[in-house]
């Protein structure tokens, strides 16, 4: 891999947004293809961050600044990418379920999803089932992601899924769930399509689900 892309990866890992922006421009000036800058530079950096976060080597603040650095690069690439017709990975509607106000984890998931090329519609926290349904109708996403951090709001995931069925939209989206107390088993029980324990795997899962369609 070129030195420039390696430096870009390092800048993202270090969370240095200014540097990441500069190197992104430099890479383009060197004639490296925008998609390559995105995948082998920016996303590669964010993947390392995901792995280190999962291994508990770094903490939430480091993930936030890395995500910001990646975003800075993505913004510079965006106009160039449009021309190259990189397919968007897909669209995902994300939110923390009703009654629950925890959003740090959900926001990290949003950043990682953006990192791997999803368009993210973030509905925020305390999202009522009807709002999820509205968003499905309005944005026609491929995926819906629900987050819950409280044992007491986990049942709301099930209720939200039932609201999808009642509204006749369940078949139109894949549904993924997550949050500290949620697990694979619970996801299966309530009839979700997938579960991921952390933001990095959430992005992988989302990609896999979109591909299998």
């Amino acid at each position: 891999m070129s030195d420039t892309l390696k430096q870009l990866t390092e800048a993202v890992i270090a969370g240095n947004a200014t540097l990441a922006g500069k190197i992104t421009e430099q890479a383009l000036a060197e004639g490296i293809a925008p998609t390559k800058v995105l995948t082998d530079g920016l996303i590669a950096g964010m993947s390392v961050v995901g792995v280190r976060f999962k291994a508990e080597e770094i903490f939430v603040p480091e993930v936030l600044i890395a995500a910001r650095a990646m975003k800075t690069g993505v913004e510079i690439l965006r106009p160039r990418l449009a021309g190259e017709a990189v397919p968007m990975a897909g669209t995902i509607v994300l939110g923390t379920v009703q009654g629950d106000l925890h959003d740090i984890g959900k926001n990290l998931v949003a950043m990682m999803m953006e990192g791997v090329g999803f368009k993210v519609i973030d509905l925020g926290v305390n999202v009522a089932p009807e709002r999820f349904v509205e968003a499905i109708n309005e944005h026609e996403p491929d995926l819906v992601g629900m987050s819950a951090l409280l044992t007491t709001t986990m049942p709301m995931m099930k209720e939200t899924l039932e609201a999808f069925k009642a509204a006749g939209v369940r078949g139109r989206v894949k549904v993924v769930v997550g949050g500290a107390p949620v697990n694979e088993n619970f996801a299966r029980q309530i009839g979700a399509d997938g579960y991921a324990p952390d933001a990095g795997s959430a992005a992988d899962l989302a990609k896999a689900l979109v591909v299998t369609g």
């Binding site: 770094i58 939430v60 044992t151």
Partner: protein, 345 residues
Amino acid sequence: MDKMRPVERIKLAVEHKQPDRVPVFPVCVAHAAKNYGITYRDYCTSAENLARAAIHCSRTYGLDGVFVQACGWQEAEAMGVELYYPEDNAPSGKAPIVKTREELKKLRVPDPLKDGRMPMVVKANELVVKEVGHELYVKSQIDQAPFALACELVGFEQAFLLMYDDPSFLHELLEICTETQIRYGKAIASTGVHNVFMGEAIASQISPAQYKEFSLPYNRRVIDAMHELGVTVTLHTCGNSSYILELMADTGADIIEFDSMVDIAEAKRRVGDRVCLQGNVDTGLVLQGTPDEVEAAAKDCIEKAASGGGFILACGCEPAPNTPQANLHALVAAAKKYGRYPITQ
């Protein structure tokens, strides 16, 4: 059968001595309201209700202490953050109020006898101390530790970014938060409570180096001020605070309360000689498990942390509102059954 007064039992544990048995004191908030049969909103907006519900909860289970905590947002509220109050859930902030230096300049240390619900909490403590202070250990919130309070004022993610982007902004804000805690703590200490409680759930999400810079020195100042008034301090974190146990002990806190993600045997080994440990049965288990499972988990905590004293049995965090009574009874029973001193490891 228990001969010692509960307040003495906890005091001895805090002094690293061995009481007659392991004290048991899960800190109930939403569950206290539910158990008393009132909504959270009614619980957290009236001194009378708060005091009654807290005492009722301790009496229901035979806890060794009473915990007085309205909610985790009331210092922020007294400083100007608008809250929304769900009918039967803890209130929370609508939006951060410190986004710019101008807003920071305008921020004032609230007056605990005038602003927000601070006077209500002071009043509730007066009621509790008067009624049960001779018998039960009274612990009151001064709650959000400076860094946690700063997060509420600027927004959690913003606070994290400020650590990198503008640390001096954050430090200035932390000065005000520290002063807020000290003043509030003084007002609460004057009611005669035995212990004040500082919570910093968010501390489990930052690195040890960040904790050292943005939390520890400020916590230490609040704690020193409380010690000058003769009041002991509990420092509480939710989540996995394994990384920062020593640093939490370095704050000078008398009690460290930590969550079930922390290995209690390891906590005992690392800081058990410096601070009294309070914890750490999983709140999820206490909500969803059987009484037998709770008893087994409590027994495990006692076996790992009680030897030599300096231990209070509790949940890792506040139990969920609809926690079955039988499970909290089982927790208390375990302290009586397995917690008789002397205990050897």
